[in-house]
Symmetry: C2
């Protein structure tokens, strides 16, 4: 996690909140007999903090967040003038697009399923193969990918420089900088906004914080199974995932329908044979809102996804009841969705480049996988 | 205008507010010498009311507006799961998409420029050819148009019926109805939400209401020219347009680049020869936010649009200074943009039809003009 202790907006870091949670857990322990499952859960997982976390090397200020929200919704950051960050990471729908793979410039389909942006600030790295070390690096990818927003840094800067309000807002968001309106600062403003897109207070978080009765017996059984069967071996920490890399198919590789052979995952980043079909363990926060599942987006049903994971990652042929219980537990990970006001965007000027919806060179999805800018 | 006097939400009808405006104008008159331009303006135009107007036959209730806001942003109302009402009527960008013509299903281009939804409740009828008598009739068009959202009423009802929260919200929004979740009620909820999308308090409205110094000398000169040259003959009333139909080219028909010969406007609605190339006079509220201009979307520059209108509609070869002054006046029509919170949409269920982004039968723009559902 790239989190720092000090920020203009963030009062409590995620570690601070985790500490508070453990304190209240300890308090509950003195009054009641030790609950082993609760204790174990607090060792493996952390609640989502209720405060916006700090981001290393990028102070999350009000001005930057406000600017980032505008950029997030501005379709003029795409070549066509049609697509914005929100097109594929829809904040009204769990922070993703609920499509198998996304639709981008020219109605082209991207090669991988769009991951949710909610709580993404807590992931160790971004994209399914982790090739972006932080959200600001990630943000520069889709803007430039030919099958996504199909823009260039030059186009983005021309668009933003053409509107006096954007110039002023960049100066406010990046005070003291000689040249505040840069592509890097576009990405930093978006990252700051994304840091606010956290979903605290899920039922599971309330459980971690000491409300032991908020989970049903089936959900607790699911949590116990999630730990005992080994799911938590990869899906732990604050996001129940997003922290490390594992082959899809630790025990048994899924069929080519679910694991398309042409997408070798982290191998494309490291060129290391052992990284073939390796992906970052997916964060499971709000998983009930983010179907369809897997990097291929081929599975729509949460129960089916759990069953597939059991076989492929753990060699466990989970019973129907076990799958139900684990899925019931996973549905307790849905947190409070952020409330976001649509920005009022500055009006284009005669200097604003006009939208170019035409498709210049159509990429086949197979080629697109080779084009690293276009892969999620 | 389809406005009624009584509604659960609306406290003042547009007529009521106009009356107040005239009162305060009269008050100003007792203190100062009669300002002829101000008096004339108040005879020709009305301010946008500050309260949500009533809609005839569709009470604008809180529950209906809230439901309409959800439907407005829900891309599952499109066949692809990608497009929502907001795709082409972007509430962050003046209520339209700032494209020549819109991009719809399969990246197909619609045949006409997307009109702004802001203040559309005050128009006598909807679409460029006025073929929908109200917003609820209009709302059913783009959802079904093959080049726009490409859905069917059956698909929309399957989608909405699959989510318990939508079922509950329709029951709340349409109390006492045996079957609240109907396609007609989808349109009514969207219409109720659209009735809230008004932009009061423009500088021109403040002028109408008695603040005579809020317009600059050039803007007042532009207003005078707008009246004297004859612009106000078609562009009058609360929306400065949107009330009646006129040929594009009253005096001189513009070139085929601006007036494509295959789109005969209202002729397609009435089949009357005199309606060839007839369109509804465009409402000019927020016109500085809604480039490019005309039903063809071919003109990006407001000054150029004014000059073209002078020649084609009035036979007036306006000087550069006159064009500048009229354009300066038109820029005073930008009102307070509505602040809209993004809804949190209900999660899809196993019963929700999966998105179908594939394009079934691609229509050429020429054919699309013949397909009345697809024309704006």
């Amino acid at each position: 996690m790239r989190l720092a202790a000090v920020s203009a907006l963030a009062i409590v870091s995620v570690f601070g909140v985790a500490a508070i949670a453990q304190d209240s857990g300890a308090e509950a322990d003195t009054a009641a007999p030790v609950d082993e499952l609760h204790q174990l859960a607090n060792e493996l997982f952390e609640p989502i903090p209720s405060m916006v976390p700090a981001v290393e090397g990028n102070a999350v200020t009000r001005e930057k967040v406000e600017l980032g929200r505008m950029l997030w919704f501005d379709p003029r950051l795409s070549a066509s003038g049609v697509l914005s960050c929100n097109s594929c990471h829809n904040l009204a729908m769990g922070g993703d697009d609920n499509l198998e793979t996304s639709i981008g410039h020219g109605w082209q389909r991207g090669p991988r399923n769009s991951p949710t942006v909610f709580n993404a600030v807590f992931n160790v790295a971004q994209f399914w193969d982790g090739r972006a070390e932080d959200l600001r690096t990630q943000a520069t990818g889709p803007i430039q990918a030919a099958v996504e927003m199909a823009a260039t840094p030059e186009l983005v800067l021309s668009v933003l420089n053409s509107m006096p309000e954007y110039q002023e807002r960049f100066a406010l968001a990046f005070p003291g900088e000689d040249e505040p309106l840069t592509f890097d600062n576009v990405a930093r403003a978006i990252e700051a906004f994304e840091a606010t897109l956290i979903t605290p207070a899920s039922r599971f978080d309330q459980y971690l914080e000491g409300n032991l009765n908020i989970l049903s017996d089936e959900e607790k059984e699911g949590l116990q199974l999630f730990i005992d069967t080994g799911c938590a071996g990869c899906h732990a920490g604050v996001n129940l995932g997003g922290q490390d890399y594992f082959p899809f198919g630790v025990v048994e590789r899924p069929g080519s329908e679910i694991l398309p052979p042409n997408d070798k995952g982290r191998f494309a980043v490291t060129q290391t044979a052992s990284d073939e079909y390796v992906f970052r363990a997916v964060p499971l926060r709000n998983v009930e809102l983010t179907a369809p599942y897997f990097h291929s987006g081929k599975v729509w049903d949460l129960e089916q996804a759990v069953a597939i994971m059991g076989v492929s990652q753990l060699g466990a042929d989970l019973s129907e009841e076990e799958v139900q219980a684990i899925s019931a537990f996973l549905r307790t990970l849905t947190g409070e969705q952020p409330s976001v006001e649509l920005p009022i965007l500055p009006v284009s000027t005669p200097e604003t480049p006009q939208p170019s919806p035409q498709v210049k060179n159509s990429l086949e999805p197979e080629d697109a996988v080779q084009d690293q800018t276009s892969v999620r």
